[in-house]
Amino acid sequence: MTETRLLELSGITKRFPGVLANDDVDLDVRVGEVHALLGENGAGKSTLMKILFGLYEPDSGQVLIEGRPSGISSPADAIRAGVAMIHQHFMLVPTLTVAENVVLGLAESGWRLDTGSVAERVRDLSARYGLEVDPSALVWQLSVGERQRVEIIKALYRDCRLLILDEPTAVLTPPEVEDLFVTLRQMADDGRGLIFISHKLDEVMSLADRITVLRDGRVSGETTPGETSKEELARMMVGRPVQLVPDKPPLEIGGVRMAVEDLRVVGDRGTEAVAGLSLEIRSGEILGIAGVSGNGQRELAEAIAGLRAPAAGRVLVDGRDVTGAHPSEVRSAGLAYVPEERMRDGVVGEFTVAENVMLVDHDRAPYCRRGMLRFGTIGERARDLVARFAVKTPSLETPTRNLSGGNIQKLILARELSGSPAVLIAAQPTRGVDIGAAEYIHRRLVEEQGRGTAILVISEDLDEVMALSDRIAVIFEGRLMGIIDRSEVDVAQLGLMMAGSSNAA
């Protein structure tokens, strides 16, 4: 039997200074197949895909498309060869319309854009693949999920044979993920090949036809969902068994350490994003926020952290009223904050790993004395945190933007927990993080709880919220729908509340 090989990568090796990102990797994709690529943070998944897309050139190895050398050495070549890629970070021009973005860079578009016919074809494609989006909308007005659909339409418009999706679900809400999967399945059934990267094993098990696992740049196994299980996949990725749900020690709950009272916050769109919310978190407790993203979670966190001035209400951190205070004041009251937008807020990409370790307390002992930075101490602390949190980096002097996404998250968490905070806000703490690291982060959060920290976990991943939280607060349109105790969680009821029906129970 000869099955058509759409793509064949053989013996791909790629070295970065101090890192062997890909080591003799073989991978093939058949026609009509969804091939999932799994692996820890920094395993080399994105690197391999960037090689395939012509962004990096491999040190050695071969790329064959339909049996012939691909000759891809730039993204333009890749698109011509029928390869398209949806990056971890989108690459659209925000000030242009959807239709303009779709044809951007196409040779035949010529001088004048025939927007009418483009829009029509965009509409055809969206109808056929269930990709709902208005061709005349400006990209900056779109939600993350919509932008992703534009990227996919862009690929379809170019009639790609092979579509690479690098962690497409990390930024989507659960219903958006379902829609995306319908689209992707349809594309595969049309005879295209798809490479799908995700850290979520459930997604991989439900979507993939075949799975390749990378570890430390090498292929550590190839399998299919039929012959494997989540536990086994986790073991292939991490090299040891992984405990997906942390053990929670018996609760030792103390007094109230963080409270918001009747908080009202105006969001970016000028409407009230948080509409009179009251919450209390006690010492040694994890409160999880469940809710569809965009219902005020981000504004709530930013208002507590001092990054957004509340319109009304009060914020108390460890007994101190920090309503509308400067972020540094809130921090000195005992708040630590793992932000959702980690690349934008959590680190300075151009700074080295060591420089980012001291980002939030660079002007305090032990990092600084009389205004002068103390590099000896900084280096020691950075080395210690990097080792303890297993942040994978070639050196402490590496610019942070060169780290993989999950490792940046670990770096931020290491820094935020190192100050023994009274209150911790963790927004999407394991987004984009591999399961080994997610296990570790969960364990650290539970440990932190054991120390008496009051923790607010905001996550789109309902499993994560349920695994970690002692109480779950459901919010909808900036309002509290109800608070459910860990022992009384009922997923169906949770879903109803997230959709806006108040807690009748």
Partner: protein, 379 residues
């Protein structure tokens, strides 16, 4: 490497122009190098020219590293000159040991005030600093002209020639000449010390760390609890202070020991406020690399005059060539990035991504905004 290539490229173009003008390029360039670096006297001239370029240049490093574009070097120099002059007119009797340091401090203060104004406007009202610093240049010139035509005018001039200048300022404020030199004064040592100081400030202090953090990512700086607005004000204030010192040096290190105006800012600053931007960019926005850069540009300015005498071409040609160097450097800044990305793609074995390396760490953050100042960089 790339900056040197830029210099070479513009010299090649300069040679072509010299040929077209009927001059011998080899002879011209020999005269240029000779006039700039060929003798102790030439070196002393070059050092005198380099001094204000270096001071302004390191000031520019501070601002640009914080992603603040300071085009106000000219005005800040004038402000530094005014404040230091007024101080000396009032307390000129103090002994040199007190008065000379006071002159530098007063210059720094004047420049700091003139830098703080656009800083506050930008941080608290969102006024574009490129516009406000340019406007403040014009205000400073007019203020200087007004002061030198009446309030601080030489009393002797008021009755006779009416040249807009001060009296011969107190000799106690004369910048001491270096031992063994005829004109070169301690300003050059001060400028070198200031460059080292700015290096330490940017890379060894908490304030410098904040300046760079704000420059790279205001969002992350805010998240980290840094006072972003105050840091922006600090960037322009410090930047202005360095330019202000340059202004004081020009007055108290001059041969006439007077503050004189010809009505324009160029007449007083010789465009050091703009050329300092070029100097800093050429030094990859690194204070220590700005030192050789300032000597190179100082040398070109001095050498241009010898070249003019040797092969009878207008020295304006050199000014043009300086402009070309800038164009090459800035476009090569882009070229360098493209090359780096290419290197990333091909083989990364030799690539070095250290942030502290001035050659790769610099310019990136300001690259997009650099085109602004350069339009006015070499008038």
């Amino acid at each position: 490497m790339v900056p040197l290539a830029a210099v070479l490229a513009s010299f090649v173009i300069g040679a072509v122009i010299l040929l077209m003008l009927g001059a011998d390029p080899i002879e011209g360039y020999r005269a240029l190098v000779d006039g700039a670096f060929g003798s102790p006297k030439a070196l002393s001239h070059t050092a005198m020219k380099a001094m204000p370029l270096l001071l302004v240049g390191v000031g520019i490093c501070i601002a640009f590293r914080a992603s603040v574009i300071n085009i106000g070097g000219e005005g800040q120099m004038i402000a530094g000159a005014i404040v230091s002059t007024v101080v000396v007119l009032n307390v000129g009797d103090l002994p040199p040991l007190v008065l000379v340091p006071l002159v530098f401090c007063a210059g720094a203060l004047g420049g700091a005030i003139w830098g703080a104004i656009p800083g506050v406007l930008k941080a608290y009202s969102g006024v574009n600093e490129i516009l406000s610093t340019i406007m403040l240049n014009i205000v400073a010139v007019q203020f200087m002209n007004f002061l030198l035509r009446d309030p601080i005018m030489d009393p002797a001039q008021k009755t006779s020639g009416r040249i807009p200048q001060t009296e011969r300022l107190s000799a106690n404020a004369d910048l001491p000449i270096l031992p063994g030199a005829s004109r070169l004064h301690i300003g050059v040592l001060v400028a070198l010390a200031v460059a080292v100081f700015v290096y330490v400030l940017l890379w060894r202090t908490a304030l410098g760390y904040r300046l760079r953090a704000v420059g790279h990512s205001a969002a992350a700086a805010r998240y980290a609890g840094m006072p972003v607005k105050r840091t922006i004000v600090a960037a322009l204030t410090l930047s202005g202070a360095m330019c202000g010192i340059a202004g004081a040096v020009l007055v108290f290190g001059s041969e006439s020991h007077r503050f004189v105006t010809d009505g324009s800012s160029v007449g007083f600053t010789q465009s050091a406020g703009f050329n300092g931007i070029v100097t800093a960019l050429f030094g990859a926005l690194h204070p220590l690399w700005t030192i050789p850069s300032s000597f190179l540009f100082g040398g070109l300015l001095v050498g241009a005059e010898t070249m003019q005498r040797a092969v009878q071409v207008p020295k304006a040609l050199m000014v043009g060539l300086n402009g070309l160097v800038v164009v090459f450097v800035v476009s090569s800044e882009r070229l360098r990035r493209v090359l780096r990305e290419r290197a990333d793609r091909e083989t990364n074995r030799r690539a070095d991504h250290s942030v502290d390396d001035p050659a790769t760490g610099a310019g990136r953050s300001t690259d997009s905004s650099v085109s602004g100042p350069l339009g006015t960089a070499t008038p």
